[in-house]
Each structure stands twice: as structure tokens, then as C-alpha cells.
């Protein structure tokens, strides 16, 4: 006989709990988008788009539907916990649907309804905003989605990734989770967000983190060590490329990109040097994407006769 009582999940309360909002999005995309629900990539990165589930999986002919939360690090956006809506660490919710389904806009709007945004109570708008990442050799067309004038999601149809045409095109949704939650919960300060329904606030989870990390990003981080890290990541990326393991190379490109952002926050890269560092990061990321696409191409072509990378 079982002494353990059965577990019945409580119903979600996305309008009053940050984590319930996330769990609701997981529920939604798992059921309605047939998405794999992934966990965050375990590396520091500036945007969810850097996750291999987005960049690398946008390449090639195979269908791919995924949803995940990705913590984003933007060292220069740190405000020592003093700004009500700027953070050096925050969350994005990413959905990638390949090929882009015909009803992707309707799916997206239903996901908003699921977390409590009624489109007849709030003014939802699709406002032109094309996306481009020279670092990834990627671009797409789409919109920023406005809710009563606030940008809550970036909506993009990827046209190119790593310099290659997307065949087929993937639709990418990036929700700004904190903003969305602030809106839904009706709070003006991110630290006042209810993280869960048991009284834990976002501030309790992250405020001290923001203070310390802002200080480290701007004042403490050893710049010599950072320059060294950059050089090592760059070298390791090349090493991995020459060894034919482009996913590993791509990770080092991400690493180099983040270290560069830290160096920027420390203010030790001059305007002239900046362009050259950016070009180096771009070269690493693009080379990795290219190598990945080229390595995978034979397999893709076998599964999809007639398909070609270029």
C-alpha cells in the first residue's frame, strides 16, 4: 500500500506569479506548438537567439519546434538594482517553429490570451521591426508586438542564418518575460514582481544578484584575465573548427562574445578596437555556423533528396 498521497498540480495563476506565467507558456507551446520544452543553455549569452536550439537548428531542412527560457546577460545594462526595469540578467522566452506554421500569429495571440492578455481589453499591434544579427550572419523580417504601446515580443521569420538561406524558414518568437509579467501583474518595478504564489518576490530572488553582478561587471572583473579569456576562447574555437566539431566551436564563439561584452562594460575597449573585436567575434560565430551547416549537409541531403545548402 502507498503511504504517499497522489500529487494534483494546482491550477496556474499567470497573472499573479512569474513562474506560473512561464509554466503556462510551457504548457501552451508544448500542447499547441508540439514543441520540445528545453532547459536554458548552460552558458552566458546576450540573447535567446544564441541558443543552439535557435541558431543551429534554424539551419537545415528538418522540422524543429522548441520552446525554452533563456537567461540573458547584458553587462552594460546593469544598474546596481536601482533601475525599475533595467537588468544585467533577465529572462527571454524563446519559441522556434520550423517551418513557420500558417497560423503562427494566431498561435502566438492565443499564448498571450493563455497568460491573461485579452485582446479586446488591450491594444495588440504588429509593428514593423526587422531583425538582423551581423554576428550570426542572420536576418529576418517581422514585427515587434505591442501591447498598449509596450513591446512585449519580437516576432521574426528567419530568412538567413550563418550566411545561408533558411530552407525552410523558421518563425521565432522572443517574449520579454519580466516586462510581460510587470504588465500582467500591474507592477511598475521589476523587483516587486511576484515570483511565485507563495509570497516570494523577484527582488528577493535577484536584487542582491543585480547589485553584486553590476559591481563586478563594471568595476571588479579582472580585465587582464578577460582579455586572456577572449584570446583563449578564440583559439579554442579555431581548434574545435579544425577538429570538425562545430558545435563545440560555436560554444567558444558564444563565450568570446560574452567576454567581449564584459570588456565593454569595463570600458577598456576603445572605439577603434571595438570594431575589430566585433569582427573577430563575428568571424568565429559565422565560421562555426558555416562549419556546422556543411558538416550536417550530407545527412540532410540524404533525408531530403533535392535539398541543398546553397
Amino acid at each position: 500500500m502507498s503511504a504517499v498521497p497522489a500529487f494534483t498540480p494546482a491550477s496556474r495563476d499567470p497573472a499573479r506569479s512569474f513562474q506560473d506565467m512561464i509554466l503556462t507558456l510551457h504548457d501552451f507551446w508544448s500542447a499547441e506548438g508540439q514543441c520540445v520544452i528545453l532547459q536554458p543553455y548552460d552558458m552566458r549569452m546576450g540573447a535567446g537567439t544564441f541558443h543552439t536550439a535557435t541558431t543551429l537548428r534554424a539551419l537545415g531542412p528538418e522540422p524543429w519546434n522548441a520552446a525554452f527560457v533563456q537567461p540573458c546577460r547584458r553587462p552594460t545594462d546593469g544598474r546596481y538594482g536601482e533601475n525599475p526595469n533595467r537588468l544585467q540578467h533577465y529572462y527571454q522566452y524563446q519559441v522556434i517553429l520550423k517551418p513557420s506554421p500558417g497560423d503562427i500569429q494566431e498561435l502566438y495571440l492565443r499564448s498571450l490570451a493563455a497568460i491573461g492578455i485579452d485582446p479586446l481589453a488591450h491594444d495588440i499591434r504588429f509593428v514593423e521591426d526587422d531583425w538582423e544579427s551581423p554576428t550570426l550572419g542572420a536576418w529576418g523580417l517581422g514585427w515587434e508586438v505591442w501591447c498598449d504601446g509596450m513591446e512585449v515580443t519580437q516576432f521574426t521569420y528567419f530568412q538567413q542564418m550563418g550566411g545561408f538561406d533558411c530552407k525552410p524558414v523558421a518563425g521565432e518568437l522572443t517574449y520579454g518575460l519580466e516586462r510581460l509579467a510587470m504588465y500582467i501583474q500591474g507592477v511598475d518595478n521589476v523587483y516587486d514582481l511576484a515570483f511565485n504564489s507563495a509570497g516570494v518576490s523577484y527582488g528577493e530572488v535577484f536584487l542582491e544578484n543585480e547589485r553584486q553582478m553590476s559591481k563586478w561587471n563594471f568595476e571588479v572583473a579582472n580585465t587582464e584575465a578577460l582579455f586572456d579569456l577572449f584570446a583563449k576562447a578564440e583559439a579554442e574555437c579555431r581548434n574545435a573548427l579544425s577538429a570538425g566539431v562545430p558545435i563545440a566551436a560555436y560554444e567558444q564563439a558564444i563565450e568570446a562574445s560574452h567576454v567581449f561584452n564584459l570588456l565593454q562594460a569595463r570600458g577598456v575597449i576603445s572605439v577603434q578596437e571595438r570594431a575589430s573585436y566585433m569582427a573577430r567575434v563575428r568571424d568565429l560565430a559565422r565560421s562555426s555556423c558555416e562549419a556546422y551547416a556543411e558538416k550536417m549537409s550530407p545527412e540532410w541531403q540524404t533525408k531530403y533528396p533535392g535539398w541543398s545548402l546553397v
Binding site: 485582446p119 481589453a121 491594444d123 523580417l141 509596450m150 538561406d165 525552410p168 531530403y304
Partner: protein
Amino acid sequence: MADFLLELRCEEIPARMQAGARAELEKLFRRELEAAGVKHDNLRIWSTPRRLALIAYDLPAATEAVSEEAKGPPEGAPDAAVDGFCKKNGVTRDQLELRDVKGRMTWFAVIEQPGRPMAEVLAEAIPAIIRDFSWPKSMRWGAASISTDSLRWVRPLSGIVALLDGEVVEVEVGGIRSGRETMGHRFHHEGPITIGSADDYAEKLRACHVIVDHEERARLIREGAASVAAKAGLTLVADEGLVIENAGLTEYPVPLLGRFDEAFLDVPPEVIQLTARVNQKYFVCEDAEGKLANAFICTANIAAKDPAVVVDGNRKVLAARLSDARFFWEQDQKKTLRQHAKGLERITFHEKLGTVAQRHERFVSLADDFQGELADAVPDAREAAALLKADLVTEMVGEFPELQGGMGGYYAQAEGLRAPVVAAIRDHYKPAGQADELPIGDAATLTALIDKVDALVGFFGADMKPTGSKDPFALRRAALGVIRIITERHLRLSLERLFDAAAQLYRNQGIEVANASTDLLDFFADRLKVQQREAGVRHDLIDAVFALGGEDDLVRLLARVHALQAFVGTEDGANLLAGYKRAANILKKEDWRGPEGEIARTGEEDPLALVDDPDLAPVIAAKMAERHAAATQLSYTPEPAEKALIDALAVAAPRAAEAVQTERFADAMAALATLRAPIDRFFEEVTVNAAEAEKRAARLALLARFRDAVHRVADFSRIEG
């Protein structure tokens, strides 16, 4: 006669592309009709963010039948030739006719093109229109995009309604089949709407919260915004660009007024307006005194359950944006403009032309140099000159580049600089075109000139002149600005001296710039012609004065051109011009080179004429004057008409020359006018090409003197007519 409705539905079309898309749809539809030989002129084109619609009224039921004839080979030509002709024209041999062509029997094919039903023409036209449609940016989407050949559209195309006289025109493009069903408002209406025909299209959509006519939506926004402002006791700040943009973002526009925290009004009004407009597409309002009010108007795309909720959401977003703006405003003021200006040492003006900080140094020196009317403003201009571009490195201008100059003015004012210095910083980009206002005050006039001249001299000197449609450094606008300031303020200055001084300042900094004064003056002449055309000044007259050379004072030049234009419009002027041209033609035909030329031909060349020694110049001049005097001493008795011209010229030539010298251009023209009757009479009564060499030479010399006298006023050979 039948009406045709075409609706192309897709995901949200960027607002800025909708006007172009309507024009493109019209162009392609007309192209298709013309190709089918249908003359048609009654079209309506509409757009919303989610659809492009076209209605063609009164289309014929079918195209007209056409009969065409083709001439083939003659009778008896080889079989291969005749068969080839048949194949080319799609007929069989027994359909050919023999006809007599100039006595030779020749095969003809008569091709009857029957009229085609309009539905068939449209069924071919629609896919062609969609495939050939040109968008500023287009994309692929969906499963079909596994091939790069898949259909492209601005955003995914989702539906086609094609109804001719209420019947569906069957087409399929990119996997989308045409039909009679469309969608209403994204949120106000669920499920498809069935359209009966072109007649009920707009009204059926209206019933489903879609106002398909973009102009009607624009009107609703324009009037609705004005009305909500009025209800709040305010006046809308009209912004037609914003009206059109919001009309392109909505299918059911509802302007709503909200208020923001009054404390934000400390920030300059331009900043608030830009923040509201650029970032949020909101209108702003003014109060009864014409001051910016703490109100915004957003345009919702729904009839909201509770408009206050939508307004409140927008208010929060605007508040966050204004907080950022206020942060910049306060942050920027923690440094003086002079401290900001230090940051310009890192900012490159152009890789060949040094840094912006170096521009400041040149501005100061150039300001120091100014004489004439603006001399009194030099100290103020000099102070401003070192700060003109300081705002480029402020946070605010980084955020809103269009506030350059204006922000510098605000910061200058905030740190307590004197009003003329503030104006000289604020207005130095003015005028930004033909319609913009001039800088206010002498110091601002000076800084506005300096900024533009420095850029013109630098870019011309580094060989980066505008070419064709390419003018990346806006040099045409800069030149126009200089022209407007000088001519409208009647500033007397030598452009060439200014150009040379500016170029020297570059060189003093070790920046190599070539001497481009001549090119610049030509460039200014061109810009002046374009600019003066609007004022009704003839370009050939500007040429006629510029061609004299050495004129780089635009005020004097225009005064001369105006006098000239008045003169050539009179009967005397027109006749004198004719006389001038006749004289010039004769001199050209006779290859007249003046007394010197004649001397050369007679072998009595004066060796001194070749000597370039400056010390000898007066000696040579005296000698030549003697010669010229000799040429006017006639060895024969002149005919009365000849005498009359000689006498008239003796009076008019010095009078005209003196009038030009003293800038009395109307008097110069009046002096020339006295030559009209004598020159006419001369040509009537006197034979220039007399048999006697002496007479001929003297008369040619007389004509040359006449030509030269006229020429000192303007180069009449450049004048048209």
C-alpha cells in the same frame, strides 16, 4: 460591363510600405489590362495593415476580337520557308491566302484573335501581379520555403479574394486558392466573411470592424485626435506623417487621449514630442498659450472594453520613455558644452578630414576672419564656434540625432551662455533647405556660414564632390544654405577669399586639401541657377554674368542679373542683344583679332608683346593704348551711321563701365540702351566688309569695341534668344 474585386490578404504590412504597395498594385493591374488590349480607367485601390484591395469598375465582359495579317514568302518559295511561316503564325498551309503584292503573288496568313472573356484575362493577370510585385523587402515563409523559389511577399500571403461581377475568378498562387471569403478585424470578428461582389466589399468589412479605405482611416484619426484634444481643452499638434503611419497600423482606429506626469515638462518640448512620436507614434497637444501640454494621443486598433485600461498602459510606456529622456537631459547637463566638446577629439569628421574637434578649431579661426556687416558678431560667433558640435556627444543627441543643434542650444542656455551665443549654436545647421528658416541673428548667421563653408571646402578639396544623385555629405544643401544666407541677408563677401581661408585652415592642421575654389564657384553657380529658377530668374543670365569671371560676390552678381533680366525684357534690350550677336558673328567669321592681331598679320609684331616681365607691363600697356588710339583715328571720312556709332560708343562705353564699377547696374543697362539705335543703323547703312583694307579694319575694330563695351556688362553670347 462588370466590376472586379481583388483582395490580397497577408500578415501585417509595414505602415511605411502601404502607399508604395497601392501604387505598385495599380501599375501592375494596368500593365496586365493593357497587355490584353483593354482600355480602362476606373480603379480604386485601398490598403489596411492586413490587405491590399483593388476594385476595377465597368470592365468589359470580354476583350475585343483582333484580326492580324502577316505577310509571308512569295508563291513558289521553298516548302521549308512556307512551313516555317505557318508554324510561326500558328496556321496550317490551307489557311494561307495568296495576294498580289506589286505584281508578285505572295502568301498571307490571316490570324483571327477572338475576344477573350475577362475572367480568363484576370485569371492570368492575378498570378502575374503577385509574382511580379515589387516590395522594398520581401520574404519567404512556411513549408514551401524549403525551396528558395517559393513565393515571396512582404509578409506571409494568406488569402486572395477575386470576384468578377460576383463570380469567383479561379486562381491559385503559392498554394493559395482564390475565393470569396476574407477575414474581418483580428480581434473584433471571428471566422470568415463571405463577400458577394465588389459592391458589398467595403460595407461588409466595415460591419466587421475593418475600415478598408486608408483615407477614411486617416480622416478618422486626424479628426478624432483633434476632437479628443479639444474635449480636454487642448489643441492637437498636427502631424500628417503620424496620421498616415497610424492609419497604416490600424484597421479600426480609435484615438485616445492620456496624460503624463507634468514633471516631465521640464524636459525640452522637442524631446517630449520626439519621444512620443518616434518611439510610440503618439500625437502631442498644446495648451491655450501654445505651450506643450502633458497629454498624448495614442491610436488604438480596437474599440476597447475599457479605453482607460489601454490609455493607462500607454501612459506607463511613455513614462518609462520620458524617464529615459529626462535621465539623458540631466546627465548631459552634468558637463558643460566645453567639457562635452573634449569628447569630439575621438570623433572622426571624415577619415581624410580629421576629427570634429579639429573642425571646432577651424571654426574659431574662420569666425575671427569675418569683416563687413557681421564683424560685430565675431566675438559671440567665436565663442559659439568652439561649441557648435559639442551636443553630438551628448546622450540625448545619441538617442535623437535630429535634435542636433537644438539640444546644443538648450544646454548652452541651461549653462547660462548669452542669448546670441545660444542662437549661434542652436541655428548653425540652418537653413536645412529651400523652405527652412534662416538662422536668427548675426552670430548665428556667421556660425551657419562657417559650418557649411568648412564642410564644402574640405570635401571638395579631398575630391569628394557630389556626383549625379549621390551627395552623401549633403553638400548641395550646404551650398544652397550659404547662397540663401548671403542673398537673403544681402551679405557682401568674397566667396573665393572665404574658400581660400577655409582651405588654409585645413592645411595649418596638416590636413591636405587641394585648392578647389574654381570648382566650388562653378558648383555655386549651378546651385544658384537651380535656386533662382523658382524666383523666375533666367539661368542663362546668371551664366552671362558668371562667365565674365572674377565675380564671387553673390549679392552683386544677383543685382547685375536682375538688371540684366529687366533690360533684355525691353525692346531696346532684345534689339541690342541681336546687334551684339550680329557683331560677334561677323568678328568671328572674319577671325578678327583686334589691332594686335592685325599688326601680327602685317608683320609688324611688337616684340614687347611677348614679354611677361611685370616691370614692363605698364610700358606695354601704354604702347598698346597708343595703338588702340591710333586705330580710332580714321584715315577716311566715316559714313554718318559709322560716325554715329563711334560717337555713341564714346559716351556709352565709359558710362556703362563706370556704372558697373559703382554697382549701378540699371544705369549700365541704360547706357547700353543708347547703343541700340546706332548699332541698328550701322548694320543697315554701313558695309563692314569694305573693299579698302583700311576701312574694313577700322569697322571691324569699331564692332569689336562695341562688343567689348557690351561684354563688360555681361557676356551676351551666353544669353538665349
